[in-house]
Structure formats: structure tokens, C-alpha cells
């Protein structure tokens, strides 16, 4: 029974207790995750301890801030399995990371070059490329999905060709919940010298990345989905591609030398980090990952997978229509003959925090002929009771809307 699925980690998340006290069940973690105590404490510690700017350190508070900041960079790089901390650039989030790439790489493209993007991408991994294609007269090609709602790998491989210049794809979609093995695609991209961008916003939450092994050119994700604070994102850039990255935003910190008419940027990562960074957020994110690192990964993945099975089972038993064949973290569905907005409203009335709509992926919903869907998304702090409450509410809603 789902009720016996308990989360060993739940009590570390004060927000969940507060939500429970208000009768709310959080099943919208793919949108943003609740935060562990260690994250709150790190933020508090930073702000209560006396703040200072980084990278200007004639005084001790500045020195301490710089040390903590660069240690956070190393810790996060370690967690990602990335070779050198100097390849890790801090941004505001996945969206900014991808926009940064789309501007910063733009001199690497020639008219007619092709950008390949998965059909299931979040707007953040579609629109910046679409706009780059418009600016530079490139061709944006969409890698199709197969009948199961996964990337059609043979088709994708066949689309990679001599005109391909960049491939942008996410291993785990925020709508279809299918975990892709991108190895063959990335390998082909390397053979053809195609730039590869991995949108790891959802993926990194459910599989600890090993960037050295993945061997993509660029990898991006957001802290807030990974149990970290808001306003922090990552951009990993493989050293072999550093020289392609032109400065994008200009200002303090990132500049090496300038006069009124000329300026030169520092090398990565500083050259892409203009302005005062979100130091406290970055330190708190590193603290979050350091804590995650102490947990039993296998146990987490097993728990998440048991929750997911239970979710799928319950949806299928009730005849819900799933989008694709989700195998990880989330499921999007519709009730036959019922509008997703109606279902979502009645779930919301009952304190079930799920999401309905187009999930920032309008094109894929359009292509499935759907105006929307309800999404239930899980994290390792969820438990069987959360699912029971969800199904009880779903049954009540279905009865009213029948």
C-alpha cells in the first residue's frame, strides 16, 4: 500500500510541516522544491555573520566571503562530477544559463547552420535558440518524439548532420517524465563537432550528474529545483569550449582591464559573472548539495521509484490518460472527457498542490492536441500518505465532474 511508503528525509524540510499544518500536500516539486533545514541555516548564517563582497579582499570579511564563495564553487563542481571548478559559471537559473549560451556562442554560427532541439523541451530550452536562429538566420530543427513520448533516438541520430552546429536537449522532461539515455546522441554530436547543451533542470534532481562521464559541452540547471535557494543557476562549460564563449553581460568583477572606449574580460568563470553575485544563495546551495551528498543515493532513488510506481498504478486504475510513458519523478495526465483546468481547480480546493496547464511547453502539448494536462510531481520527501491524499481528492473531484 502507498501508505507504508515513508520518507526518511521528510522531517528535514520545515516548509513541508508548515504546508501540512495548512492542509496542503506538495506535489509540485518539478516546479520548485521545498528546502531542507541546512539550506535555511546556511542562508541565515551568511546574512547574520556579516556580509562582504567577493573577489576584493583587503579586509577579513571580504577574504572570508571570497574563500566561502570559491569553496562553494568547488563543492558544487564536485557534486556535479565536473573536472575543474573554473568551468562552472554562476547564473540566476537554467533560463539565464541557456540565454547566456545563446548570446555568448552566437559568433560560432553561420547562416544556414542548424540548431537541433528536442520536441519536449521546456520553453527555456527552446525560445533562446529560436531567437538565436532568427537573429543569425539559422535553421531550428525539432527532434521528434516516438509514440511513447520519448525522443525518437534513431530519427534524432539521423537528423544530426554536416550542417548541425548545436544540439540542445534535456534528459528528463518536465512534462513527459521519461529518463533518456543521451549517450548515443552526445557521442554522435562529438564526432560531428556539434556543440551539445544539456538542460539538466529536472534531470539533476533525480540523478546525481556525472559531468565527466556525460561529456557534453555545456550543462545547465537551477538550484531552486534542487532543494536550493532561488536566484542561483549553474552553467558548466567544458574547457574545450571556453574560447567560444564571448562575454555577454559587462560590468564589475568580470572585467580585466578597461578605459572609456575599450574593455577586456577575464577568463572563465569570472568573465561571465558580471556584477555582484548572489553570494549567500550560492553558499547555501553548496551547503544543500553537501548535505545531499551525505544521504544514501540508492535509497533515495529506490524511494522515488516506489512513489512513482504507486502514482502510476493509481492513475491507471482510475483510467486516467497519461501523457507518454513516464518512468521518473512525475506524471502528466487527463481524465477522459474532463477539462484539466476543472480537475486542477477541484484538487486545489482540496489542498492538493499539483499543476495544470501547459507546463511551459506549449508546443509539445499542441502537438499532442491537448490544451493542458494535470501534473503530479514527486520528490524524495514525499510519502505514501501524500499520494493517498491526492487519490482521495482525485476521486472526489472525478465524482463531482462526472
Amino acid at each position: 500500500m502507498t501508505g507504508t511508503l515513508t520518507s526518511a528525509w521528510r522531517s528535514e524540510f520545515p516548509g513541508l510541516q508548515q504546508l501540512a499544518a495548512e492542509g496542503q500536500t506538495w506535489l509540485d516539486s518539478a516546479a520548485t522544491a521545498q528546502k531542507p533545514r541546512v539550506m535555511l541555516d546556511a542562508l541565515q548564517h551568511w546574512y547574520a555573520g556579516g556580509v562582504a563582497n567577493v573577489h576584493r579582499s583587503q579586509h577579513r570579511p571580504g577574504e572570508r566571503a571570497t574563500t566561502a564563495f570559491e569553496q562553494a564553487r568547488r563543492d558544487i563542481a564536485n557534486w556535479l562530477g565536473c573536472d575543474a571548478a573554473s568551468s562552472l559559471v554562476f547564473t540566476r537559473g537554467t533560463t539565464e544559463s541557456i540565454n547566456l549560451l545563446a548570446y555568448s556562442l552566437s559568433t560560432s554560427f553561420h547562416p544556414g547552420d542548424e540548431i537541433l532541439v528536442g520536441a519536449h523541451e521546456h520553453h527555456a530550452n527552446l525560445l533562446p535558440w529560436q531567437q538565436l536562429a532568427r537573429r543569425k538566420n539559422l535553421v531550428l530543427r525539432i527532434l521528434p518524439l516516438d509514440a511513447a513520448g520519448a525522443l525518437d533516438m534513431p530519427a534524432a541520430l539521423a537528423m544530426l548532420g554536416p550542417r548541425s552546429r548545436l544540439l540542445a536537449v534535456s534528459p528528463l522532461s518536465n512534462v513527459l517524465g521519461h529518463m533518456h539515455d543521451l549517450t548515443p546522441l552526445l557521442q554522435r554530436a562529438r564526432e560531428l563537432d556539434v556543440l551539445s547543451v544539456i538542460d539538466g533542470a529536472q534531470y539533476a534532481v533525480h540523478r546525481q550528474p556525472n559531468l565527466a562521464q556525460l561529456d557534453a559541452d555545456f550543462f545547465v540547471c537551477s538550484a531552486h529545483k534542487l532543494y536550493g535557494p532561488e536566484g542561483v543557476g549553474l552553467l558548466y562549460a567544458h574547457p574545450r569550449r571556453h574560447t567560444l564563449l564571448q562575454p555577454w553581460q559587462w560590468g564589475g568583477e568580470m572585467v580585466e582591464h578597461c578605459d572609456y572606449q575599450n574593455a577586456s574580460a577575464r577568463p572563465l568563470p569570472l568573465g561571465l559573472e558580471a556584477g555582484t553575485p548572489n553570494t549567500g544563495g550560492i553558499i547555501a546551495f553548496a551547503a544543500t548539495l553537501n548535505w545531499l551528498e551525505t544521504l544514501d543515493r540508492a535509497a533515495i532513488e529506490q524511494h522515488e521509484s516506489a512513489l512513482h510506481c504507486s502514482l502510476l498504478g493509481g492513475l491507471k486504475r482510475r483510467g486516467m490518460q497519461l501523457l507518454g510513458q513516464p518512468d521518473t519523478a512525475l506524471a502528466c495526465f487527463n481524465a477522459p472527457g474532463i477539462h484539466s483546468a476543472d480537475l486542477a481547480m477541484l484538487l486545489g480546493e482540496q489542498g492538493i498542490a499539483v499543476r495544470a496547464g501547459q507546463h511551459c511547453a506549449m508546443p509539445v502539448l499542441d502537438s499532442l492536441g491537448l490544451s493542458g494536462a494535470v501534473r503530479v510531481s514527486l520528490a524524495f520527501y514525499n510519502n505514501g500518505e501524500d499520494l493517498e491524499r491526492f487519490f482521495t481528492a482525485l476521486d472526489a473531484a472525478l465524482e463531482i465532474l462526472a
Partner: protein, 156 residues
């Protein structure tokens, strides 16, 4: 604040009698059924109010200076919410319209949450749209002001 019409007062009485979200939901569904469907030729982009996750079509007219409102959407509960809006607004002059306290209206019906979450269901966007069209009703009564609805919706 503009006074309630008899129809609105009746609706208020009905909702006031509801106990809990379930009865309110059923009542909303019932009222939704009373919202006449918009003829297909009026379900065009021109009538589409943006700023809603579910599309809402909206055709306000002022035959004798008083609002007559056609509204439609695909979701059934949202239809009910639109009917609640329609009953409150129909028959008002542009001037009276501007003085309606929508938040108060929905909250007296126990539907405050539905209005405040209107970034997705667009109730406020619809109201702003009607208001906007009402403001220009003298100048232009044709349904051609859709372009500014999103503006209206996001400026609220």
C-alpha cells in the same frame, strides 16, 4: 460600489447557503450550464482574452448603453465562474461597471480564491477587457479591442 441586480442578489443567496467547497463546486457547475455557448463564428482570436491559461472568449455589447455580455470557455467550472461574472456585470452602464468591486463580489460568494488565482483563469483579465471596451464604447463598439486585453490583464 455599484448595487447588485436582482439576479446577482439571487445568486448570492444561493452561494451563501453552500456548505463547503463541494456544494459550491456543484453550484458553479450548475450555473456554468446556464452560460449560453458563444456561436462558433464569435470564437475567434479577436474575442480571445489572453492572460488566461484556459482561453476565454468574450463579446461585450452595449445595445442601449447597458452591458450585454457573451462569454465562453471550454472548462466547466470556469464557465460557472464566468456566469458569476456575467450575472454581476450585465445590465450595468460603463460608469457603474467601473465601480464594481469584483474582489468583494467573489469573496461574498466564497470564491475569493478563484479570483485571486486569476493569472491562470483570467477572470480579472476578462473584467479589465470589458472595462476597456466599455471605456471606448462611445468611440468604437466593434469587438476590435482584443489587442489590449493582455495589457489590461497584466497591469491589474
Amino acid at each position: 460600489m455599484t448595487a447588485l441586480s436582482p439576479a446577482a442578489q439571487a445568486m448570492l443567496n444561493e452561494f451563501s447557503a453552500c456548505k463547503g467547497w463541494e456544494q459550491r463546486a456543484r453550484l458553479l457547475l450548475k450555473h456554468g450550464q446556464q452560460l449560453p455557448a458563444l456561436p462558433p463564428e464569435l470564437r475567434t482570436d479577436k474575442q480571445l482574452v489572453r492572460g488566461c491559461e484556459s482561453p476565454v472568449w468574450c463579446q461585450p455589447d452595449w445595445p442601449d448603453g447597458r452591458l450585454q455580455l457573451q462569454l465562453d470557455t471550454d472548462a466547466r467550472l470556469l464557465k460557472g465562474l464566468l456566469q458569476v461574472l456575467r450575472v454581476r456585470l450585465e445590465g450595468l452602464t460603463a460608469q457603474q461597471l467601473a465601480e464594481v468591486d469584483l474582489a468583494d463580489w467573489y469573496s461574498r460568494l466564497g470564491l475569493a480564491r478563484q479570483l485571486s488565482s486569476s493569472r491562470s483563469n483570467g477572470l480579472n483579465a476578462v473584467y479589465q477587457y470589458v472595462l476597456y471596451c466599455g471605456g471606448r464604447a462611445g468611440a468604437d463598439t466593434s469587438p476590435g479591442c482584443a489587442g489590449s486585453c493582455q495589457q489590461a490583464a497584466t497591469n491589474r
